[in-house]
Amino acid sequence: MSSTRVRWRKFVSNFMMTMTGLCALISVSVLFFILGYLVYNGGTSINWAFFTQLPKPVGESGGGMANAIVGSGKLLFAASLFGVPIGFLGGVYLAEFSGSFVASVVRYAADLLNGVPSIVIGIFAYAMVVLPFKHFSAFAGAFALGLMMIPITLRSTEEFLKNVPNSLREGAMALGASKSKTIRTVIIPAAYRGILTAILLALARVAGETAPLLFTAFGNRFWSNSWSQPTASLPVMIYTYAVSPYEDWHRQAWAAGLVLLGLILIINIVARTILARGIAVPRS
């Protein structure tokens, strides 16, 4: 065994391992650089008017995105009302009631829906809601976002319910509780942290979606007074302002980006802390 050969192999090993470290460093630092840039630009552009004023007419500087912030809130609220019950109750069915055939069909459908590009979801919402009513509306936007919440909520509800130990189910049933009562009072409370986390993560994901809103909720430079009117939303505003030729709009796009990202990261961190605090029941 020649020692040069061994030394060569050790050199290659060290070299390649350093390279992987470099890869990690590059990936992480590019990502950090980007976020830092956003925080810097957004931080210097943001002001009080951004939160309290309506957009100014084209050409005038100043103004804010109060209507887009409220619009995003409305869209997310309605999307949750639509998406969470379907996902949650569907998940309960999968975990507690279903036979294997129905379950696999539902699971497959949910996975399929999860993989559909958001722009295609937008087309679907357009065909289902905008075409029949003949105008863009906040309702259509909420429908599109709600659709995107369903698969995540459904699959994680199922997953967390299944992680509840069977001994809990058996204990409740042995005390004479009916199956539905067992689910309501024992199993769901035992899994609620995980489910809540999943719902929050789903909310955070759709909060930044732009593509499905472009031709459903459309956009609005004023307050939107009803669910059947087009409404402004933060992601769409970021897009329109960024690609516009006005310097002041670019500034506001950065500010909106920072607000949106801050919101999403806060939801994410809150959700992950809820989960990290421990699921109430240890896995069996």
Binding site: I26, I119, F124, A127, K181, A211, A242, G257
Partner: protein, 328 residues
């Protein structure tokens, strides 16, 4: 894995069988029915989605047939539509993205799974997960204001001068184009590749590594010749997952690809992608044929991502099962 409730229906011969009526009174049957209906809603929605895409793209299907995929013309004024430039743009930007993201992402995943101490690895993973949550319009914003100027002033001159004789690096650069879109997409999908690959690498049983090291392999040899091949299918899965993301990505691409329906050999030339043309032209599409051609493009995109996602899931499931099968 815990088995589901179906197992405790038969708790022994002594268990009295309850009538449907008593189950109904307890709410069991109602609960089953209600949750069943909600579960079925999900199936219904998915079926409806496919149905709507199919029905609403009938016009171009009948008028152009398969020519839709081979025509390079996209002319709303003459009412003639071909999908080729968009399919080309989607595939090229995704390919560029993967070429950049795969080596970086897998290298980083190897580092996180094999080399980094658990605490650092977990902390970095936490940040990478957060980055995966950053919405695409924000990547678009950054691409538009950082990568685009950078492309014109730094990357383009650096590649065009020495390599300009190769067709893909030829021609002038406007800052926007296939390459810019590819870079932005790469930045977007790196977190996905790292997350999934790291998970798959960590699921490789410990004894595989130990056996390799015990036989005298160096750290790198055990990683590259034993661990990575073991996790190969799962890593492929992560790449397909990233590919599906890249293909369907709308906002970030729309903002930097240049929005020109043209097939150009040069990566610096402006182009268009399926998702971008839908995003840009959907609201201004006048005439049924125009609108339905856009929906037909949506159907193409749906089928593309459907196939790629299916492959990805299959590969990931196969690998993680292999891993857990050996440890037990």
């Amino acid at each position: 894995m815990v088995t589901t409730s179906t197992t405790y229906g038969s708790t022994g011969p002594a268990a009295p069988s309850r009538s449907f009526l008593s189950k109904f009174r307890d709410g069991d049957e109602i609960a089953r029915l209600v949750t069943f209906l909600f579960a079925m809603t999900v199936v219904l929605i998915t079926v409806l989605l496919v149905y709507q895409l199919w029905v609403n793209s009938a016009l171009p299907r009948h008028k152009f047939g398969l020519h839709f995929f081979t025509t390079e013309v996209w002319d709303p004024i003459a009412d003639e539509y071909g999908a080729l430039p968009f399919i080309y743009g989607t595939l090229v930007t995704s390919a560029v993205a993967l070429l950049l993201a795969v080596p970086l992402g897998i290298g980083a995943a190897i580092f996180l799974a094999e080399l980094a101490p658990t605490r650092i690895s977990d902390a970095l993973q936490f940040f990478i997960d957060l980055l995966a949550a950053v919405p695409s319009v924000i990547y678009g914003l950054l691409g538009f204001f950082i990568v685009r100027p950078l492309m014109r002033t730094v990357i383009y001159p650096a590649l065009n001068k020495p390599l300009g004789f190769i067709p893909i690096f030829k021609g002038p650069s406007y800052g926007v184009g296939f390459f810019t879109a590819g870079i932005v997409l790469a930045i977007m999908v790196i977190p996905y590749i790292i997350s999934v690959s790291r998970e798959v690498l960590l699921s490789v049983p410990r004894d595989q590594r130990e056996a390799a090291l015990a036989l005298g392999a160096t750290r790198w040899e055990s990683t590259w010749k034993v661990v990575v091949p073991f996790a190969k299918t799962g890593i492929m899965g992560s790449i397909f997952l990233a590919l599906a993301r890249a293909l369907g990505e709308t906002m970030a691409v729309t903002m930097v690809i240049g929005n020109t329906p043209r097939i150009a050999a040069s990566l610096f030339a402006p182009g268009y992608s399926i998702a971008a043309v839908i995003a840009n032209e959907f609201t201004e599409a006048t005439g049924d044929l125009y609108l339905q051609s856009l929906i037909a493009l949506g159907l193409v995109l749906f089928i593309l991502t459907f196939v790629i996602n299916g492959l990805a899931r299959l590969l990931i499931v196969v690998t993680t099962q292999k891993g857990s099968g050996v440890t037990r």
